[in-house]
Symmetry: C2
Subunit: 643 residues, 2 copies
């Protein structure tokens, strides 16, 4: 699949954008006119740079407010078009995006629009330019893709085709069935964007909230499959207007974008027929007939995947079956291990070849602690997570093909070989072959602690706001976790956006928290260990929270304090048994209930940027005690501010 | 007017919120339940703190999902209510907000709701509690204020009244005429919020985007006047859910909120009849009859302003008639004055008693330069603006009554007495008596420079994102400037939100820019003079931009570079005369056109956080060359990053 990205997706200058797109591995770019206008480089210089970088210049955009106007206005527009065609010649470009008229259209007459498109086609023919006509969702008279296609078909001009943009189509919830009517070679361009489900005016939604495929709420797999079935063989391009992406690091955003296209490509390939060249890959239109005056390749059923796009699969993976371990780094070993002891974890031993690494466990809840060299990192922080997967090498291959960066790791010859990649938040994600038994590497530390009944219930990670969408795509595309609906939790320093990434069976649950914009963000782990870093936590599930709390109390655990007002409200809300209420109170335990069960949990004080939670789930409770999160956040705020 | 604020408007702990509300000068607060639940202080401690701070506890809120349910559910809800009444007794509170049922209502039968409200009233009567029933805009069966009022009227219970919340009413665009049907004493509470005109789902709009009155798009003056006319005599309270406010400094937000209420109060007072006790202040309902079983005072036509609210006016001011001067601070006098000389400004002299201060001018464009002590500030930055007003002492009095902080200023006995206040961005705003002539203080520097024809066209200020709404209210309420529609301008490092504050005649124009969240914010002027501070600029209007540019070029001005691609696009867009186009090119001049005229302008390089613009407006052009802003931003980005 040929990949492309509109320069407007990325921050920086046009030169920076081209370099970032090429380094990420895109095949081409769309040149967004604004980026060219503000550039000091001539069109020829830009073209030469793109050539040197191995990027094709796939689409010049946008050309606006052209059709559906009176003749005198139309003639001016033709002059305007000619000037842009001249510019495109200097850039060596051959496809221009024409957006349906928003601002100047006065004539709601398809016949006149068809005639004007045809005349533009004649001009374009003389300049060797193809026109991709796109219905903007807020176009004055043309706002639906099938209307634009009807006009293109009626214009019947070899230089006039249509451009399909998933945002403009899916945002209007238009019936997609007519996509199959369009012959692939009349789709001159394909732009993809995903978006969160927001109920707002479509223009603002489009201009500020688009995200890359897989980061929003739409089914782009179905959309791309439909376009692929037409025989379309051109670039698949990202066109995403997003306030955060515009501010984020150019290179990171480019890699995030390409990951999204590779994931989408594989998703469509996975659903495509496996017998190559199957008839159903085309719905009978001209894809295979090769009628193509513009010189674009039509591919079609001849390519291995049965579409014109030559879709490449990725190794398939299932969601992880469990958390193998959590690794923490610390420069305060005494405080951290005392807290683990208070929570009932047992010290198993030091790693046989890495003396700075030790293992603590409570049943299958395994915590690896690495004492950090204060020269390279400081504080106590969550360094990584080991996931149990059914095929570790497939997971690692998939991760690499999705452009994740492998964690460099020294390997001692007789230890278990572990491989992993960096997550967008800088934490490490390792893939472990699930065995059903205790992992092999545990023996590198020692024995014991298996008999306790405990597991890691969930791991709460803090995400920098600017890379939040990237994180969602990372966990869904690499680990096959599913994004649950997000919610906002009030804290004394602002709203915290929270969204859980989980496996269908709940064996793996990773709530992602976006801290308020004002607070310091986790970017380099261990670099900012104190102050207002938003804390992360590991929740350990046990079978008897009161016993666990009693042990912890006996061993001197510093519980996070729960206010009496909270317990009085609990009573009003749930009409709890007074004895249970007293027991909760006595142990600083919080309580929640849903339709199926109950949730009891307590928190520890924070060490560095990490704290722990002990939880007991009763009869199938599914949540995370979200109604209690404000209590925790307020208590942590009081500790931090000393108020 | 009694002022109140919901604790949810403010960041921090409940204790911090109470202190901030009291210090700002609020009379009371609404206790938002969540704030109490997460507080370690007992209700009695909170009540004692409020008492000590002189704050009344005006409303306990919210009580939810009560009415319109089956009998068994209803009985549980009564138990829930009883527990909250007990809690309120401990807080010494007597008014509770009841929101119309969102989550659990199953019975769309007004008769049953009325009966259930009445039974709640009986319970409330025994506990001495008043219930203020409010229609939430997204209520299941009750979502309009007049529906809630019909239910309250039918319940006909002394303990059951209504709560009016401007957000829930104005967001639905409900006809306001029925407000006058409600007797003032049956309005048990009044909550005010403004909001920007957004087209999105009303729940998200309400939860994230409310702002204080005067900071949004609604006519709160009309709304409050209507409620005042009913004879309502209770607190006027702010209930604003806003993501930025939740993160902002607690004390600042409280002061911003009280400013908004004082401004609104005076706006209503200014429109009220001046003959006190006029009949039209009440529409004939019970306001003056004094039937008030709850003990709340009804005020009514007896109070001086003819309403129950006792509205206090503020000194009235008109918009400024001009910019008297702009003051810049610098630690790089040579570079700054060289640039002023290049722009055709003349050095007039040093201040006779302040040797570190000098005046440069070009006609009525006056720039005061203060050389800063590097111990207290660094760089070159915009320190303040002098506005010409028709009554300087009225402006200063109004500013003080609106809680602006006066700039401390050393006064030499025979110099003109100048007074001013700090704007939210830390710049100084001074009020000068307009004379029509050159200001008196100019003589303190020297003579000359008057004969040139130039003026300050506009001053572009950078605003920290978290205090943007506060800035809008500051300039409208203190200086009577009008907020124009805002727009987003793309820059290489993100979108820049831009909104112009201007006088009706255009004599004063202050575009406010909100820089992308990632870049450093202007908070303490002079504290962060280098790096990525978003720059501010002063635009000087002249009559011949080509002459000004030629002078500047001759004197060696470093122009901000304009790319050739820009000029080629200009040609395509406007079909400009080739000679004009060449002249623009030669002088790095940018061009724009609107329906009435043309705009020609050029920019200087940035010194510290300040640069200059020279502009020529032809035949009534009204804008600021916004289409050219991306060119400027990209050029500045290239300079900053050296790319």
């Amino acid at each position: 699949m040929r990949t492309s990205i509109a320069t407007v997706c990325l921050s920086g200058t046009l030169e920076e954008k081209l370099h970032a797109a090429a380094r990420a591995g895109f095949d081409g770019v769309e040149i967004f006119e604004q980026d060219l206008l503000v550039s000091p480089d001539s069109p020829e210089t830009i073209a030469a740079l793109a050539h040197r970088l191995g990027l094709s210049l796939d689409l010049y955009q946008p050309f606006r407010d052209f059709e559906g106007v009176a003749e005198d206005e139309f003639e001016k527009n033709l002059v305007r078009a000619q000037k842009k065609f001249d510019l495109m010649a200097r850039l060596g470009m051959d496809t221009m995006l024409l957006c349906s008229n928003v601002g100047t259209a006065t004539i709601a007459d398809d016949g006149i629009v068809v005639e004007q498109l045809r005349r533009l086609g004649d001009l374009a023919e003389r300049c060797g330019i193809d026109i991709a006509y796109e219905a903007l969702a807020w176009g004055r008279f043309v706002s639906e893709y099938d209307h634009a296609w009807d006009l293109v078909r009626a214009a019947d001009h070899p230089r006039i085709g249509t451009c399909l943009d998933s945002f403009h189509i899916l945002s209007r919830d238009t019936d997609l069935s007519r996509i199959s009517e369009i012959p692939g070679e009349k789709i001159f361009f394909l732009q993809l964007a995903d978006a969160p489900a927001l109920s707002m005016d479509v223009l603002s939604w489009s201009r500020h909230h688009r995200v890359f495929p897989g980061e929003g709420a739409w089914d782009l797999t179905d959309f791309l499959a439909r376009v692929a079935a037409t025989g379309y063989a051109g670039p698949v391009s990202l066109e995403v207007f997003n306030d955060s992406f515009r501010q984020a690091d150019t290179q990171r955003t480019a890699i995030d974008g390409l990951r999204s296209l590779r994931w989408l490509e594989a998703s469509v390939a996975a659903e495509a027929p496996t017998d190559h060249g199957a008839a159903e890959a085309s719905t009978g239109h001209g894809a295979a007939t090769g009628h193509d005056t513009s010189g674009r390749s039509t591919g079609g059923p001849g390519t291995p995947d049965g579409t014109g796009l030559d879709l490449q699969p990725l190794p398939r993976v299932a969601a992880p079956s469990g958390i193998n371990y959590v690794e923490l780094s610390t420069d305060d070993l005494g405080t951290l291990t005392r807290q683990l002891h208070q929570l009932g974890l047992r010290f198993i031993g030091f790693h046989r070849s890495k003396p700075q690494v030790q293992l603590w466990r409570r049943g299958s809840a395994r915590i690896i602690i690495t004492e950090v060299d204060p020269e390279t990192a400081r504080g106590t922080f969550l360094r990584g997570i080991g996931f149990e997967v059914s095929d570790a090498s497939a997971s690692m291959d998939r991760a690499s093909l999705l452009h994740a960066v492998e964690v460099p790791r020294e390997q001692t010859h007789n230890d278990e070989v572990l491989r992993g990649v960096f997550a967008p938040d800088g934490s490490e994600v390792f893939f472990h072959q699930a065995t059903g038994d205790d992992p092999i590497w545990v023996a590198e530390f020692g024995t014991g602690g298996v008999e306790q009944s405990s597991r890691i219930d969930h791991i709460n990670l803090a995400q920098p706001a600017h890379h939040y969408d990237e994180a969602v795509l990372f966990y869904t595309s690499l680990l096959a976790l599913e994004a649950q609906p997000s919610q906002d939790v009030p804290s004394p320093s602002g709203l915290v956006r929270s969204q859980v990434m989980s496996s269908a069976d709940g064996a793996v649950r990773i709530p992602l928290n976006v801290s308020p914009a004002g607070s310091a963000e986790v970017t380099v782990r261990g670099a900012n260990p104190t102050g207002d870093t938003y804390p992360e936590h590991v929740a350990i599930a046990c079978e008897d929270i009161f016993a666990a709390a009693a042990t912890a109390l006996g061993r001197g655990l510093e519980f996070l304090e729960v206010p009496e007002n909270y317990y009085e409200d609990l009573e009003a809300r749930f009409a709890l048994d007074p004895q249970l209420l007293d027991a909760l109170r006595e142990h600083n335990i919080l309580y929640d209930r849903d339709e199926t069960g109950e949730f009891l949990h307590f928190y520890t004080a924070t060490i560095g940027s990490v704290f722990f939670e002990m939880v007991e789930r009763r009869t199938g409770y599914r949540g995370y005690g979200a109604p209690n999160a404000p209590v925790r956040l307020a208590a942590q705020h009081r500790r931090n501010t000393g108020s």
